[in-house]
Amino acid sequence: MAGLNDLYQEILLEHNSKPHNFRSMEDATQSAEGFNPLCGDMITVFLQVADGVINDVSFQGSGCAISRASASMMTQSVKGKSTSEAEETFEAFRLMMTDLDAELDYDTLGDLESLSGVVEFPTRIKCAVLAWHTLRAAMDGQDDAVTTE
């Protein structure tokens, strides 16, 4: 089993204690809610999209350190990107979360790579991807809340 230090890296703990873009957004063009029914984690992702570009992104909700840090890093990562670039980043992130041997696209991932330790803790992968699924639902303009189940 990978060490706890691989999971709870300093950068993750920083994002947990001081999450970026952790706020509601009054002028959001779209938003979506996500739940993890097994643990009760919930998140709302807000987006301001114009001409296919994510001009602003924020989130609110409650969850564990992994889900919170992942959401915080996600907002940093996709802000200013086009929605299709954000999709590509999600794909790169998901590959990192599901395939131990995957060749990682470090350029696309940036800070997100610090979450790579989560793959060793299968029960926590859902915590890390909840924000991303919710982002996708917000980009798609999906009305129903997404769940990890």
Binding site: M1, L4, N5, L7, Y8, L13, S17, L38, C39, G40, D41, M42, S62, G63, C64, A65, I66, R68, F121, T123, R124, C127
Partner: protein
């Protein structure tokens, strides 16, 4: 007499292993308990020697299987001191037991505008079946409140009862807080208004002596797997006159006396509620589990676990950034807690890395979490095979949690 926990522990083969390089410390007993060798042997013995369908065949194996299956029912009847084997219905578990009552007694007796009373501390399995019934019938679900320590407020509960109240369904021991409700008083109050009571005993039967005649409850439900027995088997106890008057739950084999295409006559109790081939092995396994705890003695088990709870409460109370949720005077062996700035799931993961199994989350009691204004707790739940050393390991691992997050 002293409780020889080291010897008791040897009866549970699963406990003798390491997890993530540490000796396993199993503190998730409220989710499911481990099984003594005698229960495992009963399952293996049944499938190795006696496996056959019950109440069907004239052959020897079928007779043996039926005998063991019905002997287990008698053991369980004695264990909860019911009056009659006919009052012991085999079900899949607590959840199915509650759904059975909702779908039979409930549909027969609950009409538009009627009321059902539960408490704030219910597990989802004692909320949702009643919500479904209320929705179908246009009935009203009322919730008896608790105080900040997790004690049921008896006066407020009594004040909820009206002439439209048709059933009280309440948890005997809270799975998330450990609170033991004054069940006998709850029943007395309801009966004074002519209202029957169902008690959810999932967290109660394994930790204290339950006497359904003394409680005078009308229904009592519990799961085998939290009582050191197999999964997929549980018990619905009901007073015979109530069960007699209730329509069947599921239709099929076993629950009939005779069938024509025009009309079916139902079987007698308990078989009326046991359609289809039952969980024979599970029933026999549960009988073996009852034998096991009976031999240890429920009073001794209760006394030993109280000592452990006191020790664990004292240890955790010393950690300043930790807060215990659920501090009722009458409490079973459950230590639910939250920590400043650290989510329960992170606590659970770090404890697991130290070989310690606890439950984290809302414990299928989301309205209760809302009552305390928290999304989740970390919960260590005790059994009689746990030791003070297990709790020392828990406290030490919590120090590690604080260290990781500092």
């Amino acid at each position: 007499m002293d409780f020889d926990v080291a010897k008791v522990k040897e009866d549970f083969p699963i406990l003798n292993q390491t997890v993530n390089g540490h000796p396993l410390v199993y503190l998730d007993n409220a989710a499911t308990s481990q099984k003594p060798q005698s229960v495992i042997d009963a399952l293996v013995g049944y499938y190795s020697s006696d496996n056959s369908n019950v109440h069907r065949g004239v052959h020897t194996l079928s007779q043996r299987a039926t005998d063991h299956y019905e002997e287990a029912r008698s053991k369980i009847r004695r264990f909860i001191n019911a009056d009659d084997d006919r009052e012991i219905i085999y079900v899949r578990g607590t959840t199915e037991g509650i759904n059975l009552v909702a779908q039979t007694y409930g549909r027969e007796n609950i009409q538009e505008g009627d009321e059902i009373i539960i408490s704030t501390m219910e597990h989802h399995s004692n909320i949702v079946p009643w919500q479904m019934l209320c929705q179908e019938r246009g009935a009203i679900l009322k919730v008896a409140p608790i105080d900040d320590s997790g004690e049921l407020l008896l006066d407020e509960y009594e004040a909820l009862i009206t002439s439209r109240t048709k059933l009280v369904s309440m948890v005997h021991v809270s799975n998330a807080l450990g609170s033991i409700i004054p069940a006998k008083r709850v029943v007395e109050i309801a009966h004074a208004h002519g209202v029957p009571v169902l008690l959810d005993g999932a967290q109660a039967v394994a930790h204290a002596k339950v006497d359904v005649q003394d409680l005078d409850c009308d229904f009592y439900v519990f799961s085998g797997h939290k009582l050191y027995g197999p999964t997929g088997i549980g018990i619905l106890y009901g007073k015979a006159d109530l069960l007699e008057a209730m329509p069947p739950y599921q239709g099929g084999g076993e629950m009939i006396r005779s069938v024509t295409f025009e009309k079916t006559l139902y079987n007698v109790l308990p078989h009326k509620f046991e359609a289809g081939t039952p969980n024979i092995a599970g029933s026999i396994g549960l009988g073996a589990a009852v034998d096991y705890v009976d031999a240890l003695g429920m009073e001794r088990i209760g006394a030993y676990e109280s000592g452990l709870l006191e020790y664990g409460t004292e240890l955790l109370s010393r950690i300043s950034s930790l807060k215990i949720i659920g501090t009722a005077q009458e409490k079973s062996g459950i230590l639910s807690f939250v920590m400043d700035g650290i989510h329960p799931h992170d606590i659970g993961t770090i404890l697991d890395a130290e070989g310690i199994a606890i439950r984290t989350g809302h414990h299928c009691a989301q309205p209760l979490m809302d009552r305390f204004g928290i999304p989740a707790t970390a919960r260590a739940s005790l059994a009689f095979y746990n030791t003070k050393e297990d709790l020392d390991a828990l406290a030490k691992a919590i120090d590690r949690v604080i260290e990781v997050f500092s």
